[in-house]
């Protein structure tokens, strides 16, 4: 299959995937107990008031009809308005995207060199004390949920030692204005993906180092560090690139928790608030955004893997 046809095929599939995600999410939100009207009523659940709100928000129309209208609007590029504020969903997305994108970008930027470095270090000392120690540390970090790690870091470095700001309260979403607030959230976000990436790198390096190809290069007298960096590493990286694509999903999960603990007004916070408020158009808009990003990132990763190692069967 040519690269062009492959990409075209994948783009079509991606479109179907986005619509599929939107449908699944819509069904899930419909299955949630209660709706926006019930949540708005809160501690004053006067049935007449709930009914009035429901009518006002047009929630009394059949679910299928609401879904089809939403889908029709989506195809015209219109994500609708929030049930809670009446503001366009697009404004919510663009207004909240900046802090999340910044966090994700810096995380990815730091993640690759750190994880690959740790993985290489462990692979070179395979089975040694350093390998086992690194392995224990990264696995330990992987097992600690973000919220627990965040709480510990805030208690120690934010409150007790006072090295970094404990929260991002007051930055108004402009995290770059006060870069110190980024430090603790980044450490928390990095902790988990480092594990899977560094272990993949390690496994790939060990495998590549044992391959006939590297053995041949060694016989030819290629020096050790060039052998590692120039020959073993590129081969080990193909699965790492694909795993990196998976990391975007994790990042969003981690972002939900990190944003809650550090009070960062980003997409994760918006998503949790929208689910709590049963603000269906906002939930849908956020999920479409996430699905588009996920599809795009996976496509790019597969294309890169296709170029790196066309024979591995990543494409079938």
């Amino acid at each position: 299959m040519s690269l062009h046809r492959y990409v075209g095929h994948r783009l079509l599939l991606g479109l179907g995937q986005v619509v599929g995600v939107a449908t699944v999410v819509f069904v899930l939100t419909e299955a949630l107990p209660g709706d926006a009207a019930v949540v708005i009523a809160g501690e004053q659940p006067d049935p007449a008031r709930i009914a009035a709100v429901r009518e006002q928000l047009e929630l009394d129309r059949p679910a299928v009809q609401r879904y089809l209208d939403w889908l029709a609007d989506l195809l015209r590029g219109d994500l609708g308005v929030s049930l809670v504020s009446g503001r366009p969903v697009v404004d919510v997305l663009t207004g909240n995207a900046a802090p999340t994108v910044l966090l994700a970008a810096v995380t990815l930027l730091l993640l690759v060199p750190v994880a690959v470095g740790v993985g290489m270090l462990a692979a070179r000392r395979e089975g040694g004390r350093l390998d086992r120690a690194l392995s224990a540390v990264v696995v330990g970090l992987y097992a600690v949920p973000e919220f627990a790690l965040a709480v510990l870091l805030v208690a120690l470095f934010g409150v007790h030692l006072g090295w970094f700001p404990p929260t991002a309260v007051g930055t108004g979403g402009n995290l770059l204005a006060q870069p110190a607030v980024l430090v603790l959230p980044l450490v928390v976000l990095l902790a988990r993906p480092i594990c899977s990436l560094s272990r993949l790198t390690r496994a790939g390096m060990i495998e590549a180092a044992g391959s006939a190809y590297v053995a041949h290069a060694r016989r030819l007298g290629v020096p050790g560090h060039r052998l590692w960096l120039g020959h073993a590493l590129p081969n080990a990286l193909a699965p790492v690139v694909q795993q990196l694509a998976r990391t975007t999903d994790w990042l969003l999960g981690g972002v939900i928790v990190v944003e809650a603990v550090f009070v960062i007004p980003g997409l994760g916070t918006a998503l949790v608030d929208a689910v709590t408020a049963r603000d269906v158009p906002t939930i849908q808009g956020l999920c479409v955004l996430v699905a588009v990003v996920t599809v795009a990132v996976n496509l790019v990763a597969d294309v890169v893997a296709f170029r790196l190692a066309p024979q591995t069967g990543a494409v079938r």
């Binding site: 019930v38 006067d46 006072g162 108004g172 007004p265 929208a274």
Partner: protein, 521 residues
């Protein structure tokens, strides 16, 4: 209103009640109005500065419409930018605000309200027409605002503006507690014709400066406020949904005021010179509802057994970490009309067992609906389940969905966790305990009780009313569906240099979450 004397009253009251939350010495000095140590305490009131206050918030889709106010931060913002005609004082009696006087006619169906001289932030005077517009907006049947139910007795078609400063309100039936209506939650006055609140204009002590939904609201002092200009130059509302984030932001010097903290945090930072804790007693009623119209709690003996098996002190000690007082199955401890002549109930397990036997409810198994709606809800349910086990009842805490909890327990189940912020006892009764109440979670429908209520609100004689409120509360205490085990303190934390945060201010009352009498030392 003189802030220092108010705070002194708050201090003595707390001392009398033996409030269990220890306050740091700096907080005591601040609350007592004594001169603080230079550099550490707030000292005496002074003008200037920006106070940053962090609240839990509504997220990216929140609005500044005061009639939509529901959450703590929305209530506080509405109070800063707007005024009501009246508000709740520290004992939840009614204190005048924009209204200076109110006078009824002889049969209590028409009330004449006089407005004080006040101006909106754009300089226009507050007129009768603004009040009528605001109330018409709130009661618009298509809008479904929260305060609509509170204003249901108003007949706006026959109400009228006598002149710019006087309004004659018509009611659909005699109502002696008309001032309660003026003070009801969310009944704010907005300028005539206002329907959008992107840049809200009110008559409150602070005027709008800038707003980022879900992030921050910046307000500035309104020099011409009728109640005196605030001390602060600027007031900034920030959002932190996690309690730990709010307290951490205070510790990190990112804010000066953290609203709604847990008793655990209060204990943790007692004696920490970075934090003062202010406890506001009698703020949140804590209890359970038993539905009296269905088994098993349609049996009066079983309800009394539930009252008697409850170890209230243990619930206050564990669930509230001691930051509260025990309840007597009556709403509104410390509020106007509260029947404090009724003896405090104490645990009596033998009598509870006897009553359970008489009700034929031995070995009864019943679900207790609860959800993580408010801190302490689930904890109270599981502590209570352990207490019930001692008399042979199997109470099974069942955790439901927190977002729809209040709707779910209104009609379903038989036993549920419940709480309520401060409101006048009359409002509590009319919203929750009458046959036609819209949120009657105990299903308490008694013609004789309804009649007592009508007698109370249609009499001009204060003695008759007091008698009727007492009789209603005696009925509820003996056999009602509300098991009210305690009243939680509301806790806020401030930086030591913040002065003027009133302690004698139950949640929802005027001085709670109020910043125009607060200063930075």
């Amino acid at each position: 209103m003189n802030p220092p004397s108010l705070r002194a009253a708050g201090l003595s009251r707390r001392a009398l009640l033996g409030g269990a939350v220890a306050l740091s010495t700096a907080a005591l000095a601040g609350c007592g109005g004594e001169p603080g140590t230079p550099g550490t305490g707030p000292g005496s009131p002074r003008r200037g500065g920006r106070l940053r206050a962090v609240f839990a918030g509504g997220g990216a889709n929140e609005t500044l419409d005061p009639h939509l106010a529901n959450l703590f931060n929305e209530a506080s913002r509405a109070k800063a930018v707007f005024d009501k005609l009246a508000d709740y004082g520290s004992d939840v009696s009614i204190v005048p605000r924009l209204a200076s006087t109110w006078e009824p006619n002889t049969d209590l169906t028409r009330w004449r309200v006089t407005l004080r001289e006040a101006t909106f932030h754009d300089g226009r005077p507050v007129r009768a027409a603004d009040v009528l517009h605001s109330y018409a907006r709130i009661t618009d049947p298509k809008r479904a605002f929260r305060a609509r139910a509170s204003l249901a007795l108003l007949d706006l078609r026959t109400s009228r503006a006598v002149d710019d400063r006087r309004i004659e309100f018509a009611l659909t039936r005699p109502y002696a507690e008309f001032p309660n209506l003026l003070a009801s939650f969310g009944a704010y006055v907005v300028p005539e014709g206002t329907d959008t609140f992107d840049r809200p204009v009110g008559s409150g002590p602070f005027r709008f400066e800038s707003f980022q939904p879900g992030r921050s609201l910046l307000l500035k002092r309104y020099e011409d406020h009728w109640d005196g200009a605030p001390y602060l130059d600027e007031l900034e509302y920030l959002i932190g949904n996690e309690e730990s984030a709010r307290i951490n932001a205070l510790l990190g010097g990112q804010v000066e005021y953290a609203h709604d903290i847990t008793p655990t945090s209060a204990r943790t930072y007692t004696g920490d010179d970075r934090v003062n804790v202010v406890a506001m007693p009698n703020s949140t009623m804590q209890g359970f509802t038993m539905k009296v119209d269905r088994p098993p709690f349609d049996d009066r003996d079983l309800r009394e057994a539930m009252f008697l098996l409850t170890d209230r002190q243990q619930l206050v000690d564990t669930v509230l970490s001691g930051a509260g007082q025990i309840g007597n199955d009556l709403y509104g401890k410390g509020y106007q009309h509260y029947a404090d002549d009724i003896a405090q109930r104490s645990p009596d397990l033998d009598r509870a067992r006897f009553l359970i036997r008489r009700a034929g409810a031995e070995g009864l198994r019943v679900n207790l609906d609860t959800a993580a709606v408010a801190s302490g809800f689930v904890e109270a349910a599981s502590t209570f389940a352990e207490q019930a086990r001692q008399v042979g009842l199997t109470v099974v805490p069942t955790t439901g969905n927190k977002d729809t909890y209040w709707r779910d327990i209104l009609t379903n189940g038989s036993l549920a966790s419940y709480r309520s912020g401060a409101m006048p006892i009359e409002t509590h009764i009319s919203q929750r305990l009458l046959t036609d109440s819209t949120t009657n979670a105990t299903r308490w429908t008694r013609p004789d009780f309804d009649a007592l209520y009508v007698r109370a609100v249609s009499s001009t004689d204060e003695g008759v009313r007091r008698q009727a409120y007492g009789d209603m509360q005696r009925m509820l205490h003996a056999e009602g569906g509300f098991l009210i085990w305690g009243f939680a303190d509301f806790l806020v934390a401030t930086a030591p240099r913040v002065g003027g945060v009133a302690a004698n201010a139950p949640a929802n009352t005027l001085d709670w979450a109020r910043f125009d009498k607060v200063w930075l030392g």
